[in-house]
């Protein structure tokens, strides 16, 4: 078990992924001559339901325009893990990940897309945004209202591991920014050390934490994506969503994987797919799944779900993802120091 995890050399994996992609491609080639009609969207954990609906809508839209019948495949998992799979050879046509840093890694390490990928689409290549909120038990028995309440003794905080989960990284940065506002970096690091002392279970991904909190009933507050909080209420029954006094503007970004689409001949299709995400129809679906749409009309229709609170951005508070990643989450970074004995 251990060894096959350890030996995930790029060569071996890309061979495996290549076989997988080869299995997908012939069907597409047969259906439309040389023009491929299969698209693989590699995404992160909480977007399963969202892209299922978007894919159905896009397939219908594309058929109306070009009369092509599409096969749209989606893959989900922790954002970091998904990025690594693409680097190791998973044949993604488009990636829709939890944070820009993960797509940066694909650009930097595998050179599958240009470094300036984020400027190629509107709104920082993020067709929707979200934020980090608190999910508490029905009636909020421990009166958890804001960030300082999370470090009170005895409060159990559930969050995934920022090393493995994109959502957890956004949550960590939101907490850091809130604490740094009053006391600077030292206060923020002291705050986070206390916060993670209150974490009884560190799951590897957002869904794992949701299960731990909602199904196993561990902990008093779940630090999670706004959309995941609403989904938890739909799936597991009444909980209260608490909006802290400030949080973070999470921009899950999307990008075309140039080298892969050129190899598959899917550039037009993939470009159409990403542009479709910005269309009113997709924006409506996005809003329905509790992601914050960029489209003002769609936002207005679902505004009751998106409480307006001050949101810091990674660029203004942390100098961009590259810097935040290196300072906080890299080996030996601030997060590692929290767990020194």
């Amino acid at each position: 078990m251990t060894h096959d995890l350890t030996v995930s050399r790029r060569g071996l994996l890309s061979a495996g992924a290549g076989v997988g992609a080869a299995a997908l491609l012939p069907a597409a080639a047969l259906a439309q001559g040389s023009k491929a009609t299969t698209l693989l969207n590699v995404s992160y954990d909480p977007t399963r339901e969202l892209y299922k609906e978007i894919n159905a809508a896009f397939a219908e839209y594309w058929k109306g325009r070009t009369n092509q019948v599409l096969t749209l495949n989606q893959s989900h998992g922790g954002s970091g893990k998904q990025a690594r799979s693409v680097i190791d050879g998973l044949q993604a046509d488009v990636v829709t990940l939890a944070l820009a840093a993960d797509i940066d890694e694909i650009a930097a390490r595998a050179k599958l897309l240009p470094a300036n990928w984020q400027s190629r689409l509107p709104n920082n290549s993020a067709p929707y945004t979200s934020t980090i909120v608190f999910l508490v038990r029905k009636g909020n028995p421990w009166k958890i209202r804001d960030w300082p309440d999370l470090i009170k003794p005895g409060i159990g905080v559930i969050t995934p591991n920022p090393k493995t989960s994109g959502g957890a990284r956004w949550g960590y940065l939101a907490a850091y920014a809130a604490a740094a506002k009053t006391g600077g970096d030292a206060a923020a690091q002291a705050y986070l050390a206390k916060l993670f002392k209150n974490v009884p279970v560190l799951d590897t991904g957002a869904r794992g934490s949701t299960t731990t909190f909602a199904q196993r009933k561990i902990g008093d507050v779940l630090l999670t994506w706004e959309n995941e909080a609403y989904l938890t209420i739909d799936e597991f029954g009444p909980h209260d969503i608490v909006y802290p006094s400030s949080s973070i503007l999470a921009e899950p970004s999307v990008a075309l994987v140039d080298k892969n689409v050129d190899r598959h001949g899917t550039r037009t299709l993939a470009t159409g797919y990403l542009n479709f995400l910005y269309s009113p129809r997709a924006q409506e679906i996005i809003a329905k799944h509790h992601f914050r749409p960029r489209d003002q009309a769609a936002f207005a229709r679902y505004a009751r779900y998106f409480k307006q609170i001050p949101l810091v951005t990674v660029d203004s508070a942390f100098g961009g993802w590259k810097k935040a990643q290196a300072t906080h989450f890299a080996d030996g970074g601030v997060f590692d120091r929290i767990y020194r004995p």
Partner: protein, 296 residues
């Protein structure tokens, strides 16, 4: 321990610690030796040696200093301790319990025995993630058994105890299946002879049965141990995964991979391999000595 003279190889050639070597030469008279040895070597190289070489090559990218820094990191050290310590504990606990199960299954005939036989194999067959989720559901504070333990103040899921439970679960069939065939083949006459010589039930088991199946118990324990050390799927669900407390080494490898620290991940992997290999060698030597004693 008592019969050192009897164990001397000159007195009894049967107790040669490497009987297989002698047999290999004898059997090479059979046709097809070269062909089968060739296929064996190629197969072993492809399936085992090649990936292990890749693993052994990778860590040196960060240099000896980098390897040392990775291994002396308190979090890595703690994870290795959790993985190996709890695996050993689980394997040791499985020894008497596995023996009892094997004993019951071979020595008695009762209704439902065949179902029990099948149940023993279940941890083999079950996907480890399924096992992990099922165990977590039962042992979580709101699960039926977890609630029971919580009442007496024992935390099961999301603590080292949870890891232990998962590792006992996956290790059990290895112990039972190693002991069972040996126990079945054990000559009745030897035990009967012991009985006619006046040994009581307890003496018969302790002096006749246990020495004979000792090597099998040990091999079952080492198999269970080796399996437990590498176990990932079932443990991460029940462990809680807190650094320094309940974080297992395989999870730390995955975390290193998420950081694109391939060399660091390989370092931990190589360290685990070295420790496992050392442990297996020790157990094999012990097994050889036990085998001598059992035959003597």
């Amino acid at each position: 321990m008592t019969d050192r003279f009897a164990a001397a190889p000159i007195v009894r050639p049967v107790t040669d610690p490497w009987p297989r070597r002698a047999r290999l030469v004898e059997h090479s008279i059979l046709p097809g030796f070269k062909l089968s040895l060739g296929i064996t070597l190629i197969y072993l190289s492809l399936i085992v040696l090649l990936p292990l070489t890749a693993l052994a090559v990778r860590p040196w990218e960060i240099g000896v200093e980098g390897i040392l820094r990775t291994l002396t990191d308190p979090r890595v050290a703690a994870a290795l301790k959790v993985s190996f310590g709890i695996s050993l504990a689980a394997a040791l606990v499985n020894a008497p319990l596995g023996l009892m199960l094997a004993w019951t299954l071979t020595r008695y005939r009762f209704p439902g025995r065949r179902i029990m036989e099948a149940l023993v194999d279940l941890p083999f067959a079950l996907p480890t993630a399924v096992a992990g989720i099922a165990l977590t559901a039962i042992y979580a504070p709101n699960g039926p058994l977890g609630a029971l333990f919580a009442k007496i103040g024992i935390k099961t899921a999301y603590s080292p105890v949870g890891i232990f439970i998962a590792l006992v679960f996956i290790g059990l069939p290895f112990v039972v299946r190693s002991i069972q065939p040996v126990l079945e083949d054990l000559d009745k006459d030897v035990e009967e002879a012991a009985q006619t010589l006046g040994a009581n039930d307890f003496q018969r088991v302790l002096h006749v049965v246990i020495p004979a199946i000792g090597p099998a118990i040990l091999s079952g324990v080492s198999l269970a141990f080796a399996r437990a050390v590498g176990e990932y799927g079932s443990v991460i669900f029940i462990a809680g995964n807190l650094p320094l407390k309940t974080e297992i080494a395989p999870l730390l490898i995955v975390i290193k991979l998420e950081e694109y620290d391939y060399a660091g991940a390989a370092t931990i992997g190589l360290a685990m391999l070295a420790i496992s290999f050392g442990a297996l060698v020790v157990m094999n030597i012990a097994q050889i000595f036990l085998a001598r004693r059992g035959r003597a």
